[in-house]
Structure formats: structure tokens, C-alpha cells
């Protein structure tokens, strides 16, 4: 198809699609008039049933926890898929498992980073990791959860890289350990669900004590546990993703220097 023909076909098609959208929006209640009943029903049950004051987390890790199992495994499959796709090409490939990835990087010239940036980045590592940890463990009370916490935890490690310590990055995130952590996070989530099945309860049933008062950090049973596991899985998956791309970048940089 010529670009011109394509544009014309697209223009007609898109006009039709937008018309479809508008026709559908016409049938929606106006903005700000959400009619329910799903949301209000959950809002009225969440706190008495789970002792979690963060209702979104209660949905993500309890009411619709099964969605989150799928979601974690999407991330899991994507990280595994990246490892598959980015496996080094034949020419660059060393014999598998001959030496650890850290060794490979040791011999490379990494571009120098300015010392001010290094210091700033290193100083930020601690607080960032702390924030990530806090977010991952406070899903039940605050607008946070394993997902956001996990990404921030991963970015703490990325700061280590930014500080120029890419050797340290490789040491901190050897691929095997990350794989294990990721599998533990995602698999642990599924295992928490299966533990309920073993007890004769429905999958993912919230079988842990809910704690005495709503809003306490130790409240809400499996919600907090699952959020923590999701945090591990997300942090590991993101570090793997970045690590895979980083390794590619380093390989290239070496090739060109």
C-alpha cells in the first residue's frame, strides 16, 4: 500500500472509529456520575471485611486478587521473554556459565561519570530504598502497594548504576539471584493462594488474622503479605529488564571502543 493510500484509508477508518466512540459515550452517564453498583458495594464492605483502609489495595490483593496473580505473571513472562530475546548473538556469546557476568563487566571500560553525580546518586540510594520498602509494606493503609514500592526499590539499584558503579550493579543483581527473587515473588503469590486450597478454602481466601483495628500496619491478613511478595517480584522483574538492556548496552559500548 502506498503511504498516500494508507493515509486515506486510515483517515476514513479513524473518522468511523471516532464516530463509534462518540456514539458510545453518548450512552454513558455524564462525567462524575458513576452509577455503581460495584464500587459502592466494595466501599461498604472493604473495611469491615478486611480491616484495610486502603480500599484499592483491598481490591487488588483480595477482592480481585486473582487478576493480580495474572498481572504478576504477565510481568514475569515479559522478563523471561526479554532474557530469551536478548540472549547474546552467536558472535558475542561466551560459553554459557563459563564465568559470572560480573567478571565480564570487570574488563570493560565504562564511561566515566562526574564525581558530583556519583556522590549525589549514592546518597540517594538509601532513602530511595527506604521509600520503596515503606510503600511495599503499607498497601493496606496508604495509597501504595507492592507494585509502586517494587519499582522504587528497583530504581534504588538503578541509582547505584548511575553512580558509575556498574560493577557493583552487576554484583548486586546477578541474574540468577534476580531470577530466584522474581520466581519467589510471583510463585509465592500463587503459593499463598494455593495454601488456602490446601486448607479446603477457596483459592486466595484471606485466611490470616485480620488484626484488631482497621488501619494498623499489621492488619488485613494476606493483603499485606501479598503486597510484599508483589513488591519483591516487581523489583526483581524491573531490575532484570533494566539489567538485560544494560548488558546489551555495555556489550555495544565495548564493541565500539
Amino acid at each position: 500500500m502506498t503511504p498516500k493510500a494508507r493515509r486515506w484509508l486510515f483517515a476514513i477508518g479513524m473518522a468511523g472509529l471516532v464516530a463509534c466512540y462518540l456514539w458510545a459515550f453518548h450512552g454513558l452517564p455524564g462525567f462524575g456520575n458513576y452509577p455503581g453498583p460495584y464500587g459502592p458495594e466494595i466501599l461498604s464492605r472493604a473495611i469491615p471485611e478486611t480491616n484495610a483502609t486502603g480500599v484499592v489495595s483491598a481490591i487488588n490483593f483480595d477482592y480481585r486478587g486473582f487478576d493480580t496473580v495474572g498481572e504478576e505473571f504477565i510481568l514475569f513472562a515479559a522478563a523471561a521473554g526479554m532474557s530469551v530475546v536478548l540472549r547474546r548473538l552467536r558472535g558475542e556469546r561466551e560459553q554459557e556459565q563459563d564465568h559470572s557476568p560480573a567478571d565480564e563487566v570487570m574488563h570493560r571500560n565504562v564511561a566515566p561519570t562526574s564525581s558530583a553525580l556519583r556522590v549525589a546518586a549514592l546518597i540517594l540510594v538509601g532513602p530511595t530504598a527506604l521509600i520503596g520498602w515503606w510503600l511495599a509494606t503499607h498497601a493496606q493503609t496508604n495509597p501504595s502497594g507492592g507494585f509502586q514500592g517494587g519499582v522504587i526499590l528497583a530504581s534504588a539499584f538503578m541509582l547505584v548504576y548511575l553512580s558509575g558503579e556498574s560493577i557493583a550493579f552487576r554484583r548486586l543483581s546477578p541474574v540468577h539471584l534476580l531470577d530466584v527473587a522474581e520466581a519467589m515473588g510471583a510463585g509465592g503469590f500463587a503459593a499463598v493462594g494455593l495454601a488456602a486450597v490446601v486448607q479446603g478454602l477457596p483459592f486466595l481466601y484471606n485466611y490470616l488474622p485480620l488484626g484488631q483495628s482497621p488501619g494498623a500496619v499489621s492488619s488485613s491478613g494476606t493483603i499485606a503479605l501479598i503486597s510484599f511478595l508483589v513488591g519483591i517480584e516487581v523489583a526483581a522483574a524491573f531490575m532484570l529488564i533494566v539489567g538485560e538492556l544494560l548488558e546489551q548496552t555495555l556489550l555495544r559500548r565495548e564493541g565500539s571502543s
Binding site: P143, V242, L245, Q248, S256
Partner: protein, 84 residues
């Protein structure tokens, strides 16, 4: 102005910014600028979600849309800069 009216103004402003942001991202063809535009777009979306009363989504959009994704993109771009 009542709080509702203030909220509404904020929402309209955020929506307009998001619409403009999306257009800018799509119109940007140079790769590094594209990443910067995408990061800014993620930030705008985060603001929109905040005024939509969704702090949870705001936080993840900030961490993913404005930071993690642009970072991954940058790494990928540095990988494909020139044919070897």
C-alpha cells in the same frame, strides 16, 4: 469559587494538558526528545490522575510512566543508535 468548581477547573486544565501532551509525543520523531516528551507526558498523566482522586494510580504512573519506561527506552535507544 466552591471547592467543586476549583476541582473542575483543575480537571479541565489537566485534561487539556494531557491531550496536548499526547499530540506532542506523537509529533516528536527524534528519539531522545521523544523519551523526554514521553516522560513529561507521564508526569501530566500523573497530575490528571491526582485530580481524578486516584493517588494510587498517580504513584504508579509516576514510577512507571515518568521514570521506569523512559529509562528503559533510553537504554534501548542507546543500543540501537547506529548500525555497527
Amino acid at each position: 469559587m466552591t471547592p467543586h468548581a476549583v476541582m473542575q477547573v483543575l480537571q479541565v486544565v489537566a485534561l487539556v494538558l494531557v491531550a496536548v501532551g499526547a499530540t506532542v509525543v506523537v509529533r516528536t520523531r527524534e528519539r531522545v526528545r521523544l523519551v523526554i516528551a514521553l516522560s513529561a507526558y507521564g508526569m501530566l498523566l500523573a497530575i490528571l490522575f491526582f485530580v481524578f482522586q486516584a493517588p494510587d494510580v498517580t504513584l504508579s504512573e509516576l514510577t512507571v510512566g515518568a521514570i521506569a519506561l523512559p529509562l528503559i527506552l533510553l537504554l534501548a535507544i542507546s543500543k540501537v543508535r547506529k548500525p555497527q
